[in-house]
Symmetry: C2
Protein backbone atom coordinates (compact mmCIF):
# COMPACT_ATOMS: atom_id res chain seq x y z
CA UNK A 1 0.00 0.00 0.00
CA UNK A 2 1.47 3.29 -1.06
CA UNK A 3 0.55 6.42 0.79
CA UNK A 4 0.13 9.22 -1.70
CA UNK A 5 2.14 12.25 -0.66
CA UNK A 6 1.47 15.77 -1.87
CA UNK A 7 4.00 17.29 -4.25
CA UNK A 8 6.85 18.87 -2.34
CA UNK A 9 7.02 22.64 -2.67
CA UNK A 10 10.18 24.74 -2.71
CA UNK A 11 8.80 26.56 0.31
CA UNK A 12 8.32 23.35 2.30
CA UNK A 13 11.79 22.09 1.45
CA UNK A 14 13.43 25.41 2.24
CA UNK A 15 11.68 25.41 5.62
CA UNK A 16 12.71 21.80 6.28
CA UNK A 17 16.36 22.61 5.56
CA UNK A 18 16.11 25.81 7.61
CA UNK A 19 14.91 23.86 10.65
CA UNK A 20 17.49 21.15 10.11
CA UNK A 21 20.64 23.18 9.48
CA UNK A 22 20.26 26.97 9.73
CA UNK A 23 21.94 27.34 13.11
CA UNK A 24 25.02 25.48 11.92
CA UNK A 25 25.10 27.15 8.52
CA UNK A 26 24.88 30.66 9.91
CA UNK A 27 27.70 29.81 12.31
CA UNK A 28 29.77 28.40 9.42
CA UNK A 29 29.03 31.33 7.10
CA UNK A 30 28.42 31.51 3.37
CA UNK A 31 32.02 30.75 2.35
CA UNK A 32 32.33 27.55 4.36
CA UNK A 33 28.85 26.42 3.36
CA UNK A 34 29.65 27.08 -0.29
CA UNK A 35 32.66 24.75 -0.06
CA UNK A 36 30.42 21.92 1.19
CA UNK A 37 28.05 22.70 -1.69
CA UNK A 38 30.93 22.40 -4.16
CA UNK A 39 31.97 19.08 -2.71
CA UNK A 40 28.47 17.79 -3.41
CA UNK A 41 28.60 19.21 -6.94
CA UNK A 42 31.74 17.15 -7.45
CA UNK A 43 30.00 14.04 -6.17
CA UNK A 44 27.12 14.73 -8.57
CA UNK A 45 29.57 14.96 -11.46
CA UNK A 46 31.02 11.57 -10.49
CA UNK A 47 27.55 10.00 -10.21
CA UNK A 48 26.54 11.42 -13.60
CA UNK A 49 29.65 9.91 -15.11
CA UNK A 50 29.24 6.38 -13.80
CA UNK A 51 26.70 6.16 -10.98
CA UNK A 52 23.47 4.21 -10.75
CA UNK A 53 20.12 5.95 -10.95
CA UNK A 54 19.78 5.78 -7.14
CA UNK A 55 23.25 7.26 -6.62
CA UNK A 56 22.50 10.07 -9.03
CA UNK A 57 19.19 10.84 -7.30
CA UNK A 58 20.97 11.00 -3.94
CA UNK A 59 23.60 13.42 -5.24
CA UNK A 60 20.96 15.67 -6.82
CA UNK A 61 19.24 15.75 -3.41
CA UNK A 62 22.49 16.69 -1.66
CA UNK A 63 23.29 19.47 -4.14
CA UNK A 64 19.76 20.83 -3.71
CA UNK A 65 20.04 20.68 0.08
CA UNK A 66 23.32 22.60 0.17
CA UNK A 67 22.09 25.13 -2.40
CA UNK A 68 18.99 25.62 -0.28
CA UNK A 69 20.92 26.08 2.91
CA UNK A 70 23.04 28.81 1.29
CA UNK A 71 19.81 30.47 0.13
CA UNK A 72 18.58 30.36 3.73
CA UNK A 73 21.73 32.02 5.02
CA UNK A 74 21.33 34.95 2.58
CA UNK A 75 17.51 35.08 2.83
CA UNK A 76 16.69 34.18 -0.77
CA UNK A 77 13.27 32.58 -1.36
CA UNK A 78 14.01 29.92 -4.00
CA UNK A 79 10.42 29.40 -5.15
CA UNK A 80 9.96 33.13 -5.69
CA UNK A 81 13.35 33.39 -7.41
CA UNK A 82 12.64 30.68 -10.00
CA UNK A 83 9.10 31.87 -10.59
CA UNK A 84 10.35 35.39 -11.23
CA UNK A 85 13.09 34.25 -13.62
CA UNK A 86 11.36 31.37 -15.45
CA UNK A 87 7.64 31.67 -14.65
CA UNK A 88 6.83 33.75 -17.74
CA UNK A 89 8.80 31.64 -20.21
CA UNK A 90 12.42 31.37 -21.29
CA UNK A 91 14.32 34.48 -20.13
CA UNK A 92 16.03 34.54 -23.55
CA UNK A 93 13.11 34.32 -26.00
CA UNK A 94 10.02 34.61 -23.79
CA UNK A 95 8.56 31.34 -25.12
CA UNK A 96 7.45 28.44 -22.95
CA UNK A 97 9.21 26.12 -25.38
CA UNK A 98 12.55 27.85 -25.86
CA UNK A 99 13.24 29.03 -29.42
CA UNK A 100 16.55 30.73 -28.75
CA UNK A 101 19.20 29.95 -31.36
CA UNK A 102 20.92 26.63 -30.64
CA UNK A 103 24.24 28.45 -30.55
CA UNK A 104 22.92 30.68 -27.74
CA UNK A 105 23.05 30.01 -24.05
CA UNK A 106 19.96 27.94 -23.31
CA UNK B 1 -3.47 44.28 -6.00
CA UNK B 2 -1.39 41.18 -5.59
CA UNK B 3 -2.61 37.92 -6.99
CA UNK B 4 -1.75 35.16 -4.55
CA UNK B 5 0.01 32.32 -6.32
CA UNK B 6 0.19 28.79 -5.01
CA UNK B 7 3.56 27.58 -3.75
CA UNK B 8 5.67 26.25 -6.59
CA UNK B 9 6.33 22.51 -6.41
CA UNK B 10 9.47 20.73 -7.56
CA UNK B 11 7.28 18.74 -9.90
CA UNK B 12 5.80 21.85 -11.53
CA UNK B 13 9.20 23.46 -11.95
CA UNK B 14 10.76 20.31 -13.36
CA UNK B 15 7.91 20.06 -15.87
CA UNK B 16 8.27 23.74 -16.80
CA UNK B 17 11.99 23.31 -17.46
CA UNK B 18 11.33 20.07 -19.34
CA UNK B 19 8.94 21.83 -21.70
CA UNK B 20 11.25 24.79 -22.09
CA UNK B 21 14.59 23.10 -22.68
CA UNK B 22 14.53 19.29 -22.85
CA UNK B 23 14.89 19.02 -26.61
CA UNK B 24 18.00 21.20 -26.59
CA UNK B 25 19.46 19.61 -23.48
CA UNK B 26 19.11 16.07 -24.75
CA UNK B 27 20.78 17.15 -27.99
CA UNK B 28 23.61 18.82 -26.02
CA UNK B 29 24.04 15.88 -23.64
CA UNK B 30 24.85 15.71 -19.95
CA UNK B 31 28.46 16.85 -20.29
CA UNK B 32 27.73 20.02 -22.21
CA UNK B 33 24.75 20.82 -20.00
CA UNK B 34 26.88 20.31 -16.89
CA UNK B 35 29.34 22.91 -18.15
CA UNK B 36 26.54 25.49 -18.46
CA UNK B 37 25.46 24.54 -14.94
CA UNK B 38 29.00 25.16 -13.67
CA UNK B 39 29.10 28.55 -15.34
CA UNK B 40 25.98 29.49 -13.38
CA UNK B 41 27.53 28.15 -10.17
CA UNK B 42 30.43 30.53 -10.79
CA UNK B 43 28.03 33.43 -11.29
CA UNK B 44 26.31 32.50 -8.03
CA UNK B 45 29.66 32.57 -6.24
CA UNK B 46 30.30 36.06 -7.60
CA UNK B 47 26.83 37.27 -6.58
CA UNK B 48 27.25 35.82 -3.08
CA UNK B 49 30.52 37.68 -2.77
CA UNK B 50 29.33 41.12 -3.78
CA UNK B 51 25.92 41.01 -5.49
CA UNK B 52 22.65 42.64 -4.50
CA UNK B 53 19.79 40.56 -3.11
CA UNK B 54 18.08 40.63 -6.53
CA UNK B 55 21.26 39.49 -8.30
CA UNK B 56 21.72 36.66 -5.83
CA UNK B 57 18.11 35.54 -6.28
CA UNK B 58 18.55 35.50 -10.06
CA UNK B 59 21.71 33.38 -9.84
CA UNK B 60 20.06 30.91 -7.45
CA UNK B 61 17.24 30.60 -10.01
CA UNK B 62 19.71 29.94 -12.83
CA UNK B 63 21.62 27.31 -10.86
CA UNK B 64 18.33 25.59 -10.01
CA UNK B 65 17.19 25.70 -13.64
CA UNK B 66 20.40 24.11 -14.94
CA UNK B 67 20.44 21.53 -12.17
CA UNK B 68 16.85 20.68 -13.02
CA UNK B 69 17.53 20.38 -16.70
CA UNK B 70 20.36 17.89 -16.01
CA UNK B 71 17.94 15.94 -13.79
CA UNK B 72 15.49 15.87 -16.69
CA UNK B 73 18.11 14.49 -19.07
CA UNK B 74 18.92 11.60 -16.70
CA UNK B 75 15.30 11.08 -15.55
CA UNK B 76 15.75 11.95 -11.89
CA UNK B 77 12.64 13.23 -10.07
CA UNK B 78 14.00 16.00 -7.83
CA UNK B 79 11.04 16.18 -5.45
CA UNK B 80 11.19 12.45 -4.85
CA UNK B 81 14.98 12.54 -4.48
CA UNK B 82 14.99 15.21 -1.76
CA UNK B 83 12.04 13.69 0.05
CA UNK B 84 13.78 10.34 0.13
CA UNK B 85 17.07 11.78 1.39
CA UNK B 86 15.85 14.52 3.77
CA UNK B 87 12.15 13.84 4.37
CA UNK B 88 12.72 11.73 7.49
CA UNK B 89 15.23 14.07 9.12
CA UNK B 90 18.96 14.71 8.83
CA UNK B 91 20.60 11.79 7.00
CA UNK B 92 23.43 11.97 9.57
CA UNK B 93 21.59 11.93 12.91
CA UNK B 94 17.95 11.30 11.95
CA UNK B 95 16.75 14.44 13.80
CA UNK B 96 14.65 17.17 12.22
CA UNK B 97 16.93 19.70 13.88
CA UNK B 98 20.37 18.31 13.11
CA UNK B 99 22.43 17.27 16.14
CA UNK B 100 25.42 15.91 14.30
CA UNK B 101 28.76 16.99 15.79
CA UNK B 102 29.75 20.45 14.53
CA UNK B 103 32.96 18.95 13.24
CA UNK B 104 30.95 16.57 11.05
CA UNK B 105 29.66 17.19 7.59
CA UNK B 106 26.33 18.94 8.05
Amino acid sequence: MTRQQPDLTFSDFQQLIRTMYLRKDVARGVEGTFMWFMEEVGELAAALRDGSHAERAEEFADVLAWLTTIANVVNVDLGEAVRRKYGDGCPGCGQFECRCADSGKP
